[in-house]
């Protein structure tokens, strides 16, 4: 393990009776990075986070913090602090007492507790709120107090369990940016659990996708979004259209896939595939475009599928066009909403959906 690895999880498994919450998870998180555990509800991401924090004892496997095996240590003996979804502030203590609680336990002198707590409240934008009780704060303010309480301990790994889930949409967006800025400011490792991909994309240096107790894929946020390796990642991250099919021919540059929607050409990119193998092709909805079948295709091998225009949903910045393909599957194409609100297609119109050749991603798993 390299010296700048903050967290290493090795073959981690957690069972609850017959239910497997985590299955042989291996992940390595670097010091100072903002790492996001993303996935559907019940996928195991919180179980993984809580195992790192010492709130869950794994059935098998190890958790290492800075190279030290902490698998059997309780939370108070680990170099982590945590922010909870339900705020978890101590209601009988004031804001300043909440923030200074960990320092008091560490027997830090009273004056220093006061100074550090005030500094931290200033950092999270809550100067002047120190004598208030938690119930006198809004949800966003309570979450900031939690952040201050965790950061004041100056531990180098901060665990955040769906910290923004209880906030309204606008506040969540604002807090996302604040979290990212805070992490850059303090420079410690943040491990953040969320099921919200926009939140994940906003804050993450790297994203790990967890579903059904398995670590599906992890990598830099842009890579996970733009070039997902696995079909599940493509189905979960971003709005992707998926075409399942069988490889017909392959050469060094292009693969031809026979799908129920038609023949699809996709870049080979060194994938090890054989003719007849089942594969999936994903294409992001925002790189697709719509044209009438009467328009001549740019090249005979340009990727395209035909269908019938169903409807247009106006989403503010973009329009979401829904097209029914010949095999009854639905494809979504997003385009920027025009200023006049007109849509050049009517329900029932035959359309052709096209995309740049390089935008197609091949998935063998």
């Amino acid at each position: 393990m390299s010296s700048d690895t903050a967290v290493e999880v090795v073959d981690l498994k957690k069972n609850y009776g017959p239910v497997t919450a985590l299955e042989n998870v291996n992940v390595s998180i670097k010091s100072g990075e903002y790492f996001v555990l993303l996935g559907p509800s019940g996928g195991g991401k919180t179980t993984l986070l809580r195992s790192i924090g010492g709130f869950i004892r794994p059935t098998k496997g190890r958790v290492l913090l800075h190279g030290e095996d902490v698998t059997d240590l309780p939370p108070d003996k680990r170099s982590t602090s945590m922010v909870f979804q339900s705020y978890a502030l101590f209601p009988h203590m004031t804001v300043i007492e909440n923030v200074g609680y960990g320092l008091k336990l560490a027997k830090v002198p009273k004056a220093e507790i006061e100074r550090k707590s005030h500094d931290m409240l200033e950092m999270v934008g809550l100067t002047g709120y120190d004598r208030r009780k938690p119930h006198e704060l809004s949800g966003g303010q309570q979450q900031r107090v939690q952040l201050a309480r965790a950061l004041v301990l100056e531990r180098d790994i901060l665990l955040l369990d769906e910290p923004l889930a209880a906030l309204d949409a606008q506040l969540r967006k604002d807090m996302c940016v604040e979290l990212k800025h805070l992490q850059q400011q303090v420079g410690i490792t943040f491990i953040h659990v969320t099921h919200n991909q926009e939140e994940a994309m906003t804050v993450a240096d790297r994203i790990a996708l967890i579903a059904d107790g398995n670590l599906v894929e992890y990598g830099p946020a842009r890579e996970v979004y733009e070039t997902p390796k696995r079909r599940f990642t493509a189905s979960f991250v971003g709005e992707n259209n998926l075409f399942d099919g069988r490889v017909v021919t392959s050469d060094s540059d292009t693969l031809e896939v026979n799908s129920p929607a038609g023949q699809i050409f996709v870049p080979h990119k060194g994938a090890t595939v054989a003719a007849g193998q089942n594969v999936s092709v994903s294409v992001r909805s925002e790189v697709m475009s719509l044209e009438r079948p009467s328009v001549k295709p740019s090249s005979p091998s340009a990727p395209a599928v035909s269908g019938t225009y169903r409807e247009c949903l106006y989403l503010g910045l973009v329009n979401s066009h829904r097209i029914i393909l010949e095999d009854e599957r639905e494809v979504v194409v997003r385009t920027l909403a025009g200023p006049d609100g007109t849509v050049p297609f009517a329900p029932g119109d035959p359309v052709r959906v096209t995309w740049p050749f390089d935008a197609g991603r091949l998935h063998t798993q």
């Binding site: 108070d76 101590f90 200033e122 934008g125 100067t127 002047g128 119930h135 939690q146």
Partner: protein, 306 residues
Amino acid sequence: MSEYGSIWGYRAQWAYLLLIVATLMSPVFYVIYISFNENGFGAAEYVFTLEWYGLIFSDRLMMNALGWTLMLAFATLAVTVPMATIAAKFYKATRHKVFTIFVLLSPLFVAPDILGSALLVFFKNTNNMFEAFSDYLGTEFFYGWFQLGFMTAWIGLIIYTMPYAFIVILITIGRYNEQQTEAARACGASGWRAFWDVEFPQIRAGIFSACAFTVILSFNEYTRTSLLKGGFDTFTTVLISQMLNEGMSEQSYAMSSLVSFVAIATIGTIIIFTMIRSEQLQRKAQPKAEPADAPETNAEPQKAAA
């Protein structure tokens, strides 16, 4: 009351409730009334006096019994409440809730005289076994360990009061957010420290209520205590024995009134305190968007002072 309900229906419900309370409490109030009569129970003339209250403390038999009762009550409290707290925490954490609650409440399902006599037989047999074992070893060390006395009455009362204390504590512990304990642990607190600093202040009302209930239940208990007490007397055993043999003395009326008054005042205080606390918690559960006299929220996080 429903927005569309009849005001008379609402008043009738209150009248019904008050009637029940009056019916249940009128004998107690009658005892209190007699305790202030110089001529005692059944006299044609009522003359107000505090004399009987003054004589309570001169009744040696009664005072001795009261001493034993208080000792038993507080010894029971010392064991029952911590056990009930641990049981309530366990109940909250376990996935096998039905079985756990059945086990913890099972003493309530057994009639007091059956449970008392079962314990009596159990302690007698256990005592005989210990004595036989002691004889076998050629020592007197195990003699009288389970002879009827303070300890057997104490065990009987613990079994009796435990389910009540458990339920009372469970009501407050059930509302406690366990993530606060986790948050305290994440701040560096040990399990005990997290309980003492964070959980206890929030479930204190339930624990104190359980203490009060345990003391009152122990104080009032007759059947199990009389079967298991051995050679000493408690307040209720003296009172009932007096009543059966000689009729109640005037001091007994005064003592009963005093005990009733203390019990009603204690329970009333607990109920009022719990209701006030519950309203406070409800208010706290709705966080205000912005405190009225709060300073302006800093929109963006600021750099910490160096």
